[in-house]
Symmetry: C2
Subunit: 175 residues, 2 copies
């Protein structure tokens, strides 16, 4: 089963980025072209019936599989980036981290009002980043059809940050 | 011609990230699935005869097309990231920026000695980042067969930073 292959190939790194956190390292799944291809195909199988106009990927670990998904679906890819990286006029959204605050941005003219989006990021943890990403898309009058994660840390209850109507899919989950 | 379509779709943003620099924004080429697909196919046509074992992508604008290229070639993708982002043991390389210094890293065990690599990044400007990326790969005893850029700013003479034997390809160039 793909879920087990992905869990087996990911490397868990204890105490990264700080003590007490066990980091799920997805890079080995990209270094293995068969696993990576099967992940992309599983994303296509979930996303295609939703019929999105664009895939939005969240910097920077959401860029690889997000762009590959968009290419496979034959639709465009739009990046959400950390503050100061996108050159044209942006909409900003700040969100809380454990210590301090972070800001993400999207190009205002990348999103057409009424467009239907799927957002991809690698990890659903406490949900702060993805909640901010959804806010950006909705503030530009797009509809977020679904959100795809490679990994969900269920014990952090990130889904509670997201509206009930959004179709959420995580490839692998840790209860 | 693809080069002209890419130049036409990219947005030039004056005075970004600072006064006097005209930024070449590649994001519109990813939002257009046909242009993006044709870019990936042009990368495949160049890279395939070199017969690489892995594609290395440089954070973060090298992640999208780099990963897509690896998938199309059926080979693995390895990220080079900014300092502090990769969780497992890394090799570091610092390089000079106009003001100060930057550090990039690669997972040590991602590179097998003797493996043949193609590195992809979006932009060849002064060449500092790509020179550091090549150093990382070569320090781990890999062979860099070629380097692919979407955009080369020829007037900054970045190629002078790179060894003559490396096959360098830029999709579009500005003299």
């Amino acid at each position: 089963m793909l879920q087990e292959r992905v869990k087996n190939i990911m490397k868990e790194v204890p105490d990264f980025p700080k003590p007490g956190i066990s980091f799920k390292d997805i890079t080995p799944a990209m270094a293995d072209p068969i696993v990576a291809k099967d992940i992309v195909e599983s994303m296509v199988a979930w996303a295609k019936p939703l019929n999105p106009d664009y895939i939005v990927g969240v910097e920077s670990r959401g860029f690889m599989f997000g762009f590959a998904l968009a290419q496979k679906l034959g639709i465009g890819f739009i990046p959400i980036r950390k503050a100061g990286k996108l050159p044209r006029p942006v909409l900003q959204q700040s969100y809380s981290l454990e210590y301090g605050e972070a800001v993400i941005e999207i190009h205002k003219d990348d999103i057409k009002p009424g467009s239907k989006l799927i957002i991809h990021d690698d990890l659903l943890a406490t949900g702060g980043t993805i909640k901010a990403a959804v806010s950006l898309c909705e503030a530009l009058e797009a509809e977020v059809l679904g959100i795809h994660f490679l990994v969900e840390l269920e014990f952090l209850n990130g889904r509670a940050q997201l509206a009930k109507g959004i179709n959420i899919n995580a490839l692998v989950s840790y209860p």
